[in-house]
Symmetry: C2
Subunit: 343 residues, 2 copies
């Protein structure tokens, strides 16, 4: 297969609507379909960057608004890579406002208003969001979008689509992903995708899903959106998620996923294994091998008995070992998916 290193995104094989390829930033790269763990606050909860890398993670997603509120003075000087000592690819979410529950953030005419730790109100305009993401050294930036929280009215989603299209125009750039909204309304999804896919973006992200709507609606929205996106550009599905949803959405043509699902599950004691989910800490699971088919640090070094015991004792080492395992599981899953597409 010919391979041009000048191309930042390259599709190397296709199988139906599914595609596999590689995404590059400088001398860093990640094979697609790729799963990005969330490092919302510039850390993958419980893990060092070394550990994350050893599970196979090559790219993560950080929340730019969080960094702006909590550590902008330092990070705008030295950059996220240096701050958190992560030498892989960093995506930055423009807002992810619905995920930060501690402070109110509101999308209005001009941008998104939020409160700083000292109580001052500030506004992220589209330009300000891009400026912040650049300042913190993001590799792939997201346009500012208006993501209504679920449940929403059709009117609210109509407004969010208008606003998201308008703001996208002000966020275009060569390492930038646009975010597509439209709620669970096929016509609004299509309108948003058609308008924004004309703009000058590096890639397109489907946002506003997996926020409480029925699962079928999520899959339906991905189905109506992906055919409208340019084939040669990367497609990111935000907030997904579970191994099953990822497998299904790869078939619909998605290249990149990000979600807290595997890491959050791990911290709550649910691990994914080759023979199904295991709930730790309940005193019932027993045995030596955690997952015979897994070669991660946790499975190589510890027993299911010990891992279960750590959760029973509410010890953070347990959360950490479970996080390592779930990320290794996701990495193995993505590798199997890519192999299947290559045929």
């Amino acid at each position: 297969m010919p391979c041009s290193y000048s191309k930042m995104f390259e599709i190397t094989a296709e199988n139906g609507r599914a595609r596999t390829g590689v995404l590059r930033a400088g001398n860093m790269s990640v094979e697609t379909p790729a799963f990005l763990p969330v490092a919302t606050k510039a850390f993958i909860k419980t893990l060092t960057p070394d550990e994350a890398k050893r599970t196979g993670v090559k790219a993560i997603i950080v929340n730019a608004l969080h960094i702006y509120r909590r550590a902008y003075d330092v990070v705008s000087k030295i950059g996220l890579h240096e701050f958190m000592k992560w030498d892989g690819i960093i995506f930055t979410d423009s807002g992810g406002f619905q995920s930060i529950k501690k402070f109110p953030a509101d999308a209005g005419q001009d941008g998104v208003t939020f409160m700083m730790p000292d109580g001052r109100k500030e506004i992220f305009t589209p330009e300000k969001s891009m400026e912040v993401q650049k300042a913190i050294g993001s590799d792939f930036l997201f346009a500012l979008d208006d993501c209504p929280s679920y449940p929403y009215t059709r009117e609210r989603v109509e407004e969010s689509v208008e606003r998201t299209i308008k703001w996208a125009r002000r966020c275009q750039g060569e390492r930038h992903f646009a975010i597509l909204q439209g709620g669970v309304y096929a016509d609004l999804r299509k309108k948003c995708a058609k308008e924004i896919s004309q703009m000058d973006f590096f890639g397109f992200a489907i946002g506003g899903l997996c926020i409480g709507e029925p699962k079928e609606e999520m899959h339906h929205m991905v189905d109506v959106t992906t055919p409208l996106l340019p084939k040669e550009k990367p497609r990111h599905l935000m907030g997904v998620g579970s191994p099953e949803d990822i497998m299904a959405c790869v078939e619909k043509g998605i290249d990149i996923f990000d979600s807290a699902f595997p890491t959050r599950n791990a911290r709550h004691g649910t691990i994914f294994t080759s023979h199904g989910k295991i709930n730790l800490g309940k005193g019932k699971v027993r045995g030596d091998a955690i997952d015979e088919e897994c070669n991660c640090y946790t499975c190589r070094n510890f027993s299911l008995d010990y891992l279960n015991y750590l959760f029973r004792e509410k010890e953070t080492l347990g959360m950490r070992l479970a996080t390592i395992h779930n990320l290794a599981y996701m990495n193995d899953l993505m590798e199997r998916i890519r192999e299947k597409i290559r045929g």
Copy 2:
């Protein structure tokens, strides 16, 4: 210096009352004076065994009663080393009852009564405690003692000394440490030390200190006790502690220390450095290097800014990086102390 590998404890140099040497168990060894981090529940909080070893830890102390209450079925089959994947030396505390606040435990005529997780009451007689410590594969066992909680009356301490002497007789053994009580009463400490030091123990531990009594009392009790202990046998001071107290007590002839002090401080954001303590998470400490003189994983890889930020965000990765640093600091301290004794 001649060195006989058949000897489990060997003093290789002395300087005043201070001594340095080596303690061996099978093919494992630790140089003395040694500091043992606590792994009360069969884990050093937040750390993997690998990480602890890389900070220089060679020996830890586990609470036998905790293991008996929470994981005895598994651990009595495979042993602590295999259960927690620790291939260094393991000391087991016979009770440490005052440290477990969640359930009542009472020393009476026959032993120590405590409640099992299912509500049943059980009793650790001296024989039962030794049986449990052997069953879980301890390398160095502690005799069952009666440690009154502070504040106490002289009468209560007199009772504890009588009982501790009586029980010690039933706990003798070639890998066993006796525990000496006597509160803050020099005459009771001396009586206890004189009687028990005649018995057939591998080593002697000074217990019942650092539990709330004034610091000078602790130092005074160590002063009156150590001269009464056989010179050729190892001396353990339980529950100590801080770098200053360790340095002072090495001068009094102590060989082994165990304490939660460095690890607990780390989890609460206090790290020890070559230029004093640093309190993390308050938003005031700033800078790049954590401790220029430290070569631990944390200091080699992360900035003071990032560590401080992790504590501000209450992220467990911060506690873990601080724990690694404080244990490395303790290891460096003990190494410097040993070098100084060797002269």
